[in-house]
Symmetry: C2
Subunit: 271 residues, 2 copies
Protein backbone atom coordinates (compact mmCIF):
# COMPACT_ATOMS: atom_id res chain seq x y z
CA UNK A 1 0.00 0.00 0.00
CA UNK A 2 0.89 3.61 -0.33
CA UNK A 3 0.43 6.83 1.53
CA UNK A 4 -1.45 9.92 0.43
CA UNK A 5 -1.04 13.57 1.38
CA UNK A 6 -3.30 16.39 0.26
CA UNK A 7 -3.63 20.07 1.03
CA UNK A 8 -6.46 22.47 0.21
CA UNK A 9 -6.33 26.13 1.29
CA UNK A 10 -8.02 29.49 0.92
CA UNK A 11 -4.71 31.32 0.38
CA UNK A 12 -1.63 29.95 -1.39
CA UNK A 13 0.33 28.04 1.24
CA UNK A 14 3.53 26.02 1.16
CA UNK A 15 3.48 22.41 2.28
CA UNK A 16 7.09 22.23 3.47
CA UNK A 17 6.20 21.31 7.08
CA UNK A 18 3.79 18.48 6.28
CA UNK A 19 5.98 17.23 3.46
CA UNK A 20 8.94 16.96 5.84
CA UNK A 21 7.15 14.32 7.88
CA UNK A 22 5.54 12.65 4.88
CA UNK A 23 8.87 12.38 3.06
CA UNK A 24 10.37 10.37 5.94
CA UNK A 25 7.79 7.65 5.42
CA UNK A 26 9.29 6.95 2.01
CA UNK A 27 12.06 4.63 3.11
CA UNK A 28 13.11 6.10 6.47
CA UNK A 29 10.36 5.83 9.12
CA UNK A 30 8.16 3.60 6.93
CA UNK A 31 8.36 1.15 4.02
CA UNK A 32 6.96 3.21 1.13
CA UNK A 33 10.17 3.24 -0.88
CA UNK A 34 8.99 2.58 -4.45
CA UNK A 35 8.99 6.16 -5.67
CA UNK A 36 7.00 9.25 -4.84
CA UNK A 37 5.45 12.29 -6.43
CA UNK A 38 3.81 15.60 -5.63
CA UNK A 39 1.63 17.97 -7.65
CA UNK A 40 1.17 21.67 -6.91
CA UNK A 41 -1.65 23.63 -8.48
CA UNK A 42 -0.74 27.27 -9.04
CA UNK A 43 -3.66 29.07 -10.59
CA UNK A 44 -4.81 26.85 -13.46
CA UNK A 45 -1.31 25.45 -13.87
CA UNK A 46 0.11 22.42 -12.15
CA UNK A 47 3.66 21.36 -11.41
CA UNK A 48 4.30 17.68 -10.85
CA UNK A 49 7.54 16.40 -9.37
CA UNK A 50 8.12 12.65 -9.68
CA UNK A 51 10.98 10.47 -8.58
CA UNK A 52 11.36 6.69 -8.69
CA UNK A 53 13.87 7.00 -5.82
CA UNK A 54 12.61 6.64 -2.23
CA UNK A 55 11.48 10.08 -1.08
CA UNK A 56 13.79 9.90 1.93
CA UNK A 57 16.79 9.79 -0.46
CA UNK A 58 15.52 11.87 -3.37
CA UNK A 59 17.25 15.11 -4.38
CA UNK A 60 13.96 16.25 -5.89
CA UNK A 61 12.25 15.72 -2.53
CA UNK A 62 14.98 17.84 -0.95
CA UNK A 63 14.20 20.60 -3.44
CA UNK A 64 10.47 20.39 -2.71
CA UNK A 65 11.11 20.46 1.03
CA UNK A 66 13.32 23.55 0.81
CA UNK A 67 11.73 25.52 -2.05
CA UNK A 68 8.41 26.85 -0.78
CA UNK A 69 5.94 26.54 -3.66
CA UNK A 70 2.69 28.20 -2.57
CA UNK A 71 -0.42 26.43 -3.73
CA UNK A 72 -4.16 26.13 -3.06
CA UNK A 73 -4.24 22.42 -3.87
CA UNK A 74 -1.48 19.86 -3.43
CA UNK A 75 -1.54 16.09 -3.86
CA UNK A 76 1.40 13.87 -2.92
CA UNK A 77 1.92 10.12 -2.89
CA UNK A 78 4.61 7.74 -1.73
CA UNK A 79 4.44 4.30 -3.18
CA UNK A 80 4.76 0.75 -1.94
CA UNK A 81 4.14 -1.13 -5.18
CA UNK A 82 1.26 -3.60 -5.24
CA UNK A 83 0.19 -3.46 -8.91
CA UNK A 84 2.69 -2.62 -11.65
CA UNK A 85 6.46 -2.55 -11.53
CA UNK A 86 8.50 0.26 -10.00
CA UNK A 87 9.02 2.63 -12.92
CA UNK A 88 8.46 6.29 -13.38
CA UNK A 89 5.33 5.79 -15.51
CA UNK A 90 3.71 4.00 -12.57
CA UNK A 91 4.59 6.78 -10.13
CA UNK A 92 1.64 8.79 -8.78
CA UNK A 93 0.19 11.36 -8.95
CA UNK A 94 -1.11 11.11 -12.53
CA UNK A 95 -2.01 14.11 -14.65
CA UNK A 96 -4.49 14.65 -17.48
CA UNK A 97 -6.38 17.60 -18.94
CA UNK A 98 -10.17 17.79 -19.13
CA UNK A 99 -12.28 20.88 -19.91
CA UNK A 100 -9.15 23.00 -20.18
CA UNK A 101 -8.19 22.19 -16.58
CA UNK A 102 -5.49 19.88 -15.35
CA UNK A 103 -6.64 17.02 -13.13
CA UNK A 104 -4.40 15.23 -10.66
CA UNK A 105 -5.07 11.82 -9.12
CA UNK A 106 -3.30 9.66 -6.54
CA UNK A 107 -4.58 6.36 -5.19
CA UNK A 108 -3.85 4.16 -2.23
CA UNK A 109 -5.38 0.77 -2.76
CA UNK A 110 -5.91 -2.10 -5.06
CA UNK A 111 -8.73 -2.74 -7.52
CA UNK A 112 -7.30 -5.43 -9.82
CA UNK A 113 -10.71 -6.71 -10.94
CA UNK A 114 -11.82 -3.34 -12.23
CA UNK A 115 -11.29 -3.56 -16.01
CA UNK A 116 -13.48 -0.80 -17.47
CA UNK A 117 -14.02 -0.20 -21.17
CA UNK A 118 -11.88 2.78 -22.13
CA UNK A 119 -12.95 4.64 -25.27
CA UNK A 120 -9.52 6.12 -26.04
CA UNK A 121 -10.16 9.61 -24.70
CA UNK A 122 -7.86 8.89 -21.72
CA UNK A 123 -5.49 5.94 -21.94
CA UNK A 124 -3.10 4.74 -19.22
CA UNK A 125 0.60 5.16 -20.03
CA UNK A 126 1.77 2.79 -17.29
CA UNK A 127 0.21 -0.44 -16.07
CA UNK A 128 -1.25 0.35 -12.64
CA UNK A 129 -4.89 -0.15 -11.76
CA UNK A 130 -4.71 3.37 -10.30
CA UNK A 131 -4.04 5.10 -13.61
CA UNK A 132 -6.73 2.95 -15.26
CA UNK A 133 -9.26 4.12 -12.66
CA UNK A 134 -8.23 7.74 -13.18
CA UNK A 135 -8.68 7.47 -16.96
CA UNK A 136 -12.09 5.88 -16.46
CA UNK A 137 -13.18 8.56 -13.98
CA UNK A 138 -12.31 11.36 -16.41
CA UNK A 139 -13.89 9.56 -19.36
CA UNK A 140 -17.06 9.09 -17.29
CA UNK A 141 -17.13 12.76 -16.26
CA UNK A 142 -16.81 13.84 -19.86
CA UNK A 143 -19.52 11.42 -20.98
CA UNK A 144 -21.82 12.79 -18.31
CA UNK A 145 -21.22 16.52 -18.67
CA UNK A 146 -20.09 16.98 -22.28
CA UNK A 147 -17.95 19.94 -23.23
CA UNK A 148 -18.35 22.17 -20.17
CA UNK A 149 -17.14 21.62 -16.61
CA UNK A 150 -20.12 21.50 -14.23
CA UNK A 151 -20.51 23.31 -10.91
CA UNK A 152 -18.74 22.05 -7.78
CA UNK A 153 -21.85 20.38 -6.34
CA UNK A 154 -22.58 18.53 -9.56
CA UNK A 155 -19.01 17.30 -9.72
CA UNK A 156 -19.30 15.99 -6.18
CA UNK A 157 -22.54 14.16 -6.98
CA UNK A 158 -21.02 12.61 -10.09
CA UNK A 159 -17.88 11.48 -8.30
CA UNK A 160 -19.99 10.01 -5.53
CA UNK A 161 -21.99 7.98 -8.01
CA UNK A 162 -18.85 6.86 -9.85
CA UNK A 163 -16.86 6.00 -6.73
CA UNK A 164 -19.65 4.12 -5.00
CA UNK A 165 -19.52 0.85 -7.01
CA UNK A 166 -15.73 0.87 -7.10
CA UNK A 167 -15.48 1.21 -3.34
CA UNK A 168 -17.28 -2.13 -3.06
CA UNK A 169 -14.65 -3.84 -5.24
CA UNK A 170 -11.50 -3.25 -3.24
CA UNK A 171 -9.38 -0.69 -1.49
CA UNK A 172 -9.99 2.71 -2.97
CA UNK A 173 -8.56 5.62 -1.03
CA UNK A 174 -7.91 8.48 -3.44
CA UNK A 175 -7.22 12.17 -3.78
CA UNK A 176 -8.35 14.04 -6.89
CA UNK A 177 -8.18 17.73 -7.76
CA UNK A 178 -8.81 20.05 -10.68
CA UNK A 179 -7.09 22.94 -8.91
CA UNK A 180 -10.41 24.22 -7.53
CA UNK A 181 -11.75 21.55 -5.17
CA UNK A 182 -9.87 18.64 -3.67
CA UNK A 183 -11.86 15.39 -3.52
CA UNK A 184 -10.88 12.71 -1.03
CA UNK A 185 -12.35 9.24 -0.91
CA UNK A 186 -11.73 7.17 2.20
CA UNK A 187 -12.08 3.45 1.63
CA UNK A 188 -10.05 2.15 4.57
CA UNK A 189 -7.82 4.86 5.97
CA UNK A 190 -7.70 8.64 5.62
CA UNK A 191 -7.64 11.50 8.13
CA UNK A 192 -7.78 15.27 7.93
CA UNK A 193 -7.33 18.37 9.96
CA UNK A 194 -8.35 21.97 9.28
CA UNK A 195 -5.97 24.53 10.66
CA UNK A 196 -7.46 27.98 11.21
CA UNK A 197 -7.12 30.84 13.71
CA UNK A 198 -6.22 30.66 16.54
CA UNK A 199 -3.21 28.78 15.19
CA UNK A 200 -1.07 26.61 17.43
CA UNK A 201 2.25 24.82 17.51
CA UNK A 202 2.28 21.51 15.63
CA UNK A 203 4.80 18.72 16.11
CA UNK A 204 5.59 16.10 13.48
CA UNK A 205 5.25 12.39 14.29
CA UNK A 206 7.99 11.26 11.94
CA UNK A 207 10.69 13.76 12.78
CA UNK A 208 11.31 16.02 15.73
CA UNK A 209 10.22 19.18 13.96
CA UNK A 210 7.78 21.79 15.27
CA UNK A 211 6.21 24.80 13.66
CA UNK A 212 4.26 27.61 15.28
CA UNK A 213 1.61 28.31 12.66
CA UNK A 214 0.60 31.53 14.41
CA UNK A 215 3.93 32.99 13.26
CA UNK A 216 3.51 32.12 9.59
CA UNK A 217 -0.21 32.72 9.02
CA UNK A 218 -2.78 35.49 9.03
CA UNK A 219 -6.09 35.17 10.96
CA UNK A 220 -7.93 34.70 7.67
CA UNK A 221 -5.92 31.61 6.58
CA UNK A 222 -7.54 28.20 6.44
CA UNK A 223 -5.65 25.04 5.51
CA UNK A 224 -7.01 21.51 5.27
CA UNK A 225 -4.45 18.70 5.36
CA UNK A 226 -5.55 15.19 4.37
CA UNK A 227 -3.27 12.20 4.98
CA UNK A 228 -3.42 8.41 5.14
CA UNK A 229 -2.23 8.67 8.73
CA UNK A 230 -2.05 11.80 10.89
CA UNK A 231 1.23 13.64 10.40
CA UNK A 232 1.37 15.38 13.77
CA UNK A 233 1.03 13.97 17.28
CA UNK A 234 -0.44 16.98 19.07
CA UNK A 235 -3.41 18.00 16.91
CA UNK A 236 -6.99 16.70 16.73
CA UNK A 237 -7.01 14.84 13.40
CA UNK A 238 -10.40 13.64 12.23
CA UNK A 239 -10.64 10.09 10.94
CA UNK A 240 -12.62 9.99 7.70
CA UNK A 241 -15.09 7.16 7.88
CA UNK A 242 -14.31 4.23 5.59
CA UNK A 243 -16.73 4.53 2.69
CA UNK A 244 -17.00 8.32 2.50
CA UNK A 245 -16.34 10.93 -0.17
CA UNK A 246 -15.27 14.44 0.80
CA UNK A 247 -14.95 17.69 -1.08
CA UNK A 248 -12.59 20.33 0.27
CA UNK A 249 -12.77 23.90 -0.99
CA UNK A 250 -10.93 26.97 0.31
CA UNK A 251 -9.52 25.04 3.24
CA UNK A 252 -12.69 23.49 4.63
CA UNK A 253 -15.15 20.69 4.03
CA UNK A 254 -17.68 21.74 1.40
CA UNK A 255 -19.46 18.38 1.14
CA UNK A 256 -19.24 14.84 2.43
CA UNK A 257 -21.34 11.74 1.87
CA UNK A 258 -21.17 8.05 2.74
CA UNK A 259 -20.94 5.52 -0.07
CA UNK A 260 -22.94 2.29 -0.18
CA UNK A 261 -19.80 0.39 0.73
CA UNK A 262 -19.46 2.29 3.99
CA UNK A 263 -19.57 -0.11 6.94
CA UNK A 264 -21.76 2.44 8.73
CA UNK A 265 -24.31 2.54 5.94
CA UNK A 266 -24.16 -1.25 5.68
CA UNK A 267 -24.83 -1.52 9.38
CA UNK A 268 -27.89 0.64 8.87
CA UNK A 269 -29.16 -1.51 6.03
CA UNK A 270 -28.39 -4.88 7.60
CA UNK A 271 -29.63 -3.91 11.03
CA UNK B 1 10.55 35.15 -29.07
CA UNK B 2 11.80 32.15 -27.19
CA UNK B 3 14.55 29.60 -27.41
CA UNK B 4 14.23 25.88 -27.90
CA UNK B 5 16.52 23.03 -26.91
CA UNK B 6 16.00 19.38 -27.79
CA UNK B 7 17.97 16.18 -27.38
CA UNK B 8 17.39 12.79 -29.01
CA UNK B 9 19.74 9.85 -28.32
CA UNK B 10 20.23 6.14 -28.81
CA UNK B 11 21.25 5.57 -25.17
CA UNK B 12 19.92 7.45 -22.14
CA UNK B 13 22.05 10.57 -21.83
CA UNK B 14 22.02 13.53 -19.47
CA UNK B 15 21.69 17.03 -20.86
CA UNK B 16 23.58 18.82 -18.08
CA UNK B 17 26.26 20.27 -20.40
CA UNK B 18 23.92 21.70 -23.03
CA UNK B 19 21.46 22.87 -20.39
CA UNK B 20 24.24 24.82 -18.65
CA UNK B 21 24.65 27.05 -21.68
CA UNK B 22 20.94 27.18 -22.48
CA UNK B 23 20.04 28.15 -18.92
CA UNK B 24 22.26 31.23 -19.14
CA UNK B 25 20.16 32.59 -21.99
CA UNK B 26 17.21 32.84 -19.62
CA UNK B 27 18.02 36.22 -18.14
CA UNK B 28 21.84 36.19 -17.98
CA UNK B 29 23.43 36.13 -21.46
CA UNK B 30 20.12 36.73 -23.26
CA UNK B 31 16.66 38.21 -22.71
CA UNK B 32 14.47 35.11 -22.38
CA UNK B 33 13.48 35.72 -18.78
CA UNK B 34 9.74 34.95 -18.74
CA UNK B 35 9.96 31.44 -17.37
CA UNK B 36 11.35 28.18 -18.63
CA UNK B 37 10.65 24.47 -18.65
CA UNK B 38 12.18 21.13 -19.53
CA UNK B 39 10.71 17.69 -20.15
CA UNK B 40 12.63 14.42 -19.85
CA UNK B 41 11.22 11.22 -21.30
CA UNK B 42 12.28 8.16 -19.33
CA UNK B 43 10.82 5.08 -20.94
CA UNK B 44 7.15 5.87 -21.50
CA UNK B 45 7.15 8.30 -18.60
CA UNK B 46 7.92 11.97 -18.73
CA UNK B 47 9.08 14.42 -16.10
CA UNK B 48 8.38 18.08 -16.70
CA UNK B 49 10.04 20.81 -14.65
CA UNK B 50 8.53 24.27 -15.01
CA UNK B 51 9.42 27.58 -13.42
CA UNK B 52 8.03 31.05 -14.04
CA UNK B 53 11.34 32.43 -12.71
CA UNK B 54 14.11 33.24 -15.21
CA UNK B 55 16.13 30.07 -15.74
CA UNK B 56 19.34 31.86 -14.79
CA UNK B 57 17.89 32.42 -11.28
CA UNK B 58 15.74 29.34 -10.84
CA UNK B 59 16.45 26.82 -8.05
CA UNK B 60 14.69 24.20 -10.17
CA UNK B 61 17.09 24.93 -13.03
CA UNK B 62 19.95 24.45 -10.59
CA UNK B 63 18.53 21.05 -9.68
CA UNK B 64 18.20 20.07 -13.34
CA UNK B 65 21.74 21.21 -14.07
CA UNK B 66 23.21 19.22 -11.18
CA UNK B 67 20.98 16.12 -11.07
CA UNK B 68 21.79 14.07 -14.16
CA UNK B 69 18.50 12.67 -15.45
CA UNK B 70 19.28 10.28 -18.32
CA UNK B 71 16.81 10.42 -21.15
CA UNK B 72 16.38 9.49 -24.82
CA UNK B 73 14.27 12.56 -25.58
CA UNK B 74 14.40 15.97 -23.94
CA UNK B 75 12.61 19.21 -24.84
CA UNK B 76 13.39 22.51 -23.13
CA UNK B 77 12.16 26.05 -23.64
CA UNK B 78 13.00 29.47 -22.27
CA UNK B 79 10.38 32.10 -22.82
CA UNK B 80 10.24 35.70 -23.93
CA UNK B 81 6.51 36.28 -23.82
CA UNK B 82 4.84 37.43 -27.03
CA UNK B 83 1.34 35.94 -26.64
CA UNK B 84 -0.18 35.36 -23.20
CA UNK B 85 0.89 36.74 -19.85
CA UNK B 86 3.80 35.38 -17.79
CA UNK B 87 2.19 32.69 -15.70
CA UNK B 88 2.96 29.08 -15.06
CA UNK B 89 0.10 27.83 -17.24
CA UNK B 90 1.67 29.61 -20.21
CA UNK B 91 5.10 28.11 -19.57
CA UNK B 92 6.32 25.60 -22.16
CA UNK B 93 6.75 22.71 -22.71
CA UNK B 94 3.14 21.51 -22.69
CA UNK B 95 2.10 17.96 -21.95
CA UNK B 96 -0.83 15.81 -23.02
CA UNK B 97 -1.54 12.11 -23.39
CA UNK B 98 -2.59 10.50 -26.70
CA UNK B 99 -2.69 6.75 -27.49
CA UNK B 100 -1.35 5.93 -24.03
CA UNK B 101 1.80 7.97 -24.67
CA UNK B 102 2.74 11.34 -23.29
CA UNK B 103 3.38 14.05 -25.86
CA UNK B 104 5.50 17.12 -25.20
CA UNK B 105 5.47 20.33 -27.25
CA UNK B 106 7.42 23.57 -27.16
CA UNK B 107 7.09 26.41 -29.65
CA UNK B 108 9.13 29.41 -30.62
CA UNK B 109 7.04 31.75 -32.69
CA UNK B 110 3.78 33.51 -33.12
CA UNK B 111 0.64 32.40 -34.95
CA UNK B 112 -2.04 34.70 -33.56
CA UNK B 113 -4.36 34.31 -36.55
CA UNK B 114 -4.54 30.55 -36.19
CA UNK B 115 -7.88 29.94 -34.44
CA UNK B 116 -8.72 26.30 -35.15
CA UNK B 117 -11.94 24.60 -34.18
CA UNK B 118 -11.21 22.48 -31.11
CA UNK B 119 -13.60 19.59 -30.48
CA UNK B 120 -12.91 19.32 -26.75
CA UNK B 121 -10.57 16.33 -26.86
CA UNK B 122 -7.60 18.60 -26.06
CA UNK B 123 -8.30 22.04 -24.63
CA UNK B 124 -5.71 24.70 -23.76
CA UNK B 125 -5.36 25.47 -20.04
CA UNK B 126 -3.49 28.74 -20.60
CA UNK B 127 -3.96 31.37 -23.29
CA UNK B 128 -0.95 31.03 -25.60
CA UNK B 129 -1.24 30.38 -29.31
CA UNK B 130 1.40 27.68 -28.74
CA UNK B 131 -0.77 25.52 -26.50
CA UNK B 132 -3.71 26.01 -28.89
CA UNK B 133 -1.57 24.73 -31.79
CA UNK B 134 -0.45 21.74 -29.71
CA UNK B 135 -4.06 20.82 -28.85
CA UNK B 136 -5.04 21.13 -32.51
CA UNK B 137 -2.09 18.98 -33.66
CA UNK B 138 -3.02 16.15 -31.27
CA UNK B 139 -6.72 16.41 -32.11
CA UNK B 140 -5.82 16.21 -35.81
CA UNK B 141 -3.57 13.18 -35.30
CA UNK B 142 -6.33 11.38 -33.42
CA UNK B 143 -8.88 12.26 -36.09
CA UNK B 144 -6.56 10.89 -38.74
CA UNK B 145 -5.36 7.69 -37.11
CA UNK B 146 -8.15 6.75 -34.70
CA UNK B 147 -7.38 4.64 -31.65
CA UNK B 148 -3.91 3.31 -32.50
CA UNK B 149 -0.65 5.18 -32.82
CA UNK B 150 0.72 4.84 -36.38
CA UNK B 151 4.27 3.94 -37.41
CA UNK B 152 7.04 6.54 -37.29
CA UNK B 153 6.95 7.26 -41.02
CA UNK B 154 3.19 7.81 -41.03
CA UNK B 155 3.49 10.19 -38.08
CA UNK B 156 6.11 12.17 -39.95
CA UNK B 157 3.92 12.39 -43.06
CA UNK B 158 0.94 13.52 -41.01
CA UNK B 159 2.93 16.15 -39.10
CA UNK B 160 4.34 17.42 -42.37
CA UNK B 161 0.85 17.84 -43.82
CA UNK B 162 -0.41 19.50 -40.64
CA UNK B 163 2.57 21.82 -40.20
CA UNK B 164 2.74 22.94 -43.81
CA UNK B 165 -0.24 25.36 -43.85
CA UNK B 166 0.63 26.71 -40.39
CA UNK B 167 4.18 27.49 -41.43
CA UNK B 168 2.76 29.88 -44.02
CA UNK B 169 0.82 31.80 -41.35
CA UNK B 170 3.62 32.97 -39.08
CA UNK B 171 6.66 31.90 -37.12
CA UNK B 172 6.41 28.27 -36.24
CA UNK B 173 9.58 26.71 -34.89
CA UNK B 174 8.64 23.78 -32.70
CA UNK B 175 9.86 20.63 -30.98
CA UNK B 176 7.47 17.72 -30.40
CA UNK B 177 8.09 14.27 -28.97
CA UNK B 178 6.17 11.20 -27.88
CA UNK B 179 9.25 9.72 -26.20
CA UNK B 180 10.12 7.73 -29.32
CA UNK B 181 10.94 10.25 -32.08
CA UNK B 182 11.67 13.92 -31.70
CA UNK B 183 10.13 16.13 -34.40
CA UNK B 184 11.61 19.54 -35.11
CA UNK B 185 10.08 22.14 -37.38
CA UNK B 186 12.26 25.02 -38.47
CA UNK B 187 10.30 28.05 -39.55
CA UNK B 188 12.96 30.73 -39.13
CA UNK B 189 15.78 29.51 -36.92
CA UNK B 190 16.87 26.08 -35.69
CA UNK B 191 20.19 24.22 -35.77
CA UNK B 192 21.35 20.76 -34.82
CA UNK B 193 24.43 18.69 -34.33
CA UNK B 194 24.87 14.92 -34.07
CA UNK B 195 27.66 13.89 -31.76
CA UNK B 196 29.05 10.39 -32.37
CA UNK B 197 32.41 8.63 -32.21
CA UNK B 198 35.10 9.87 -32.45
CA UNK B 199 33.95 12.30 -29.76
CA UNK B 200 35.70 15.60 -29.22
CA UNK B 201 35.93 18.43 -26.75
CA UNK B 202 33.04 20.90 -26.91
CA UNK B 203 33.08 24.44 -25.56
CA UNK B 204 29.95 26.39 -24.61
CA UNK B 205 29.22 29.76 -26.18
CA UNK B 206 27.37 31.16 -23.17
CA UNK B 207 29.71 30.15 -20.38
CA UNK B 208 33.35 29.14 -20.28
CA UNK B 209 32.65 25.45 -19.80
CA UNK B 210 34.18 22.58 -21.77
CA UNK B 211 33.46 18.89 -21.81
CA UNK B 212 35.47 16.10 -23.40
CA UNK B 213 32.71 13.81 -24.65
CA UNK B 214 35.21 11.01 -25.33
CA UNK B 215 35.55 10.63 -21.55
CA UNK B 216 31.82 10.29 -20.85
CA UNK B 217 30.60 8.24 -23.82
CA UNK B 218 31.00 4.82 -25.42
CA UNK B 219 31.80 4.40 -29.15
CA UNK B 220 28.22 3.31 -29.77
CA UNK B 221 26.61 6.51 -28.39
CA UNK B 222 24.82 8.93 -30.68
CA UNK B 223 23.30 12.19 -29.49
CA UNK B 224 21.44 14.77 -31.55
CA UNK B 225 21.12 18.25 -30.03
CA UNK B 226 18.69 20.71 -31.59
CA UNK B 227 18.70 24.37 -30.55
CA UNK B 228 17.42 27.73 -31.73
CA UNK B 229 21.01 28.90 -31.88
CA UNK B 230 24.15 26.74 -31.66
CA UNK B 231 25.19 26.16 -28.06
CA UNK B 232 28.90 25.55 -28.67
CA UNK B 233 31.42 27.62 -30.60
CA UNK B 234 33.78 24.87 -31.77
CA UNK B 235 31.48 22.31 -33.38
CA UNK B 236 29.97 22.10 -36.87
CA UNK B 237 26.28 22.88 -36.20
CA UNK B 238 23.96 22.38 -39.15
CA UNK B 239 21.43 25.12 -39.84
CA UNK B 240 18.00 23.63 -40.47
CA UNK B 241 16.52 25.30 -43.51
CA UNK B 242 13.58 27.59 -42.76
CA UNK B 243 10.50 25.68 -43.82
CA UNK B 244 11.66 22.17 -42.99
CA UNK B 245 10.37 19.36 -40.78
CA UNK B 246 12.81 16.87 -39.24
CA UNK B 247 12.37 13.59 -37.42
CA UNK B 248 15.15 12.47 -35.08
CA UNK B 249 15.29 8.89 -33.86
CA UNK B 250 18.04 7.15 -31.87
CA UNK B 251 20.31 10.16 -32.17
CA UNK B 252 20.21 10.75 -35.91
CA UNK B 253 18.02 12.19 -38.64
CA UNK B 254 15.43 9.63 -39.68
CA UNK B 255 13.50 11.90 -42.07
CA UNK B 256 13.43 15.50 -43.26
CA UNK B 257 11.27 17.33 -45.76
CA UNK B 258 10.74 20.91 -46.89
CA UNK B 259 7.36 22.51 -46.36
CA UNK B 260 5.58 24.61 -48.96
CA UNK B 261 6.46 27.70 -46.98
CA UNK B 262 10.16 27.00 -47.34
CA UNK B 263 11.89 29.86 -49.18
CA UNK B 264 13.92 27.24 -51.05
CA UNK B 265 10.87 25.41 -52.29
CA UNK B 266 9.24 28.71 -53.20
CA UNK B 267 12.29 29.62 -55.25
CA UNK B 268 11.94 26.36 -57.11
CA UNK B 269 8.28 26.94 -57.85
CA UNK B 270 8.53 30.60 -58.76
CA UNK B 271 11.63 30.15 -60.86
Amino acid sequence: MCQLLGMNCNVPTDICFSFTGFQKRGGATDVHADGWGIAFFEGRAVRVFLDPLPSAQSPIAELVRNYPIRSLNVIAHIRKATQGVVTLENTHPFQRELWGRYWIFAHNGNLPQFQPRLDGSFVPVGNTDSERIFCWLLQSLRERFGAVMPERAELFDALHQLSDPLAAMGIFNYLLSNGDSLFAHSSTELSYIVRRAPFNVAHLKDEDVMVDFSEVTTPHDRVAIIATQPLTDNEPWIIMLPGSLWQFYEGEVLAQRLTTASPVKSLGVDG
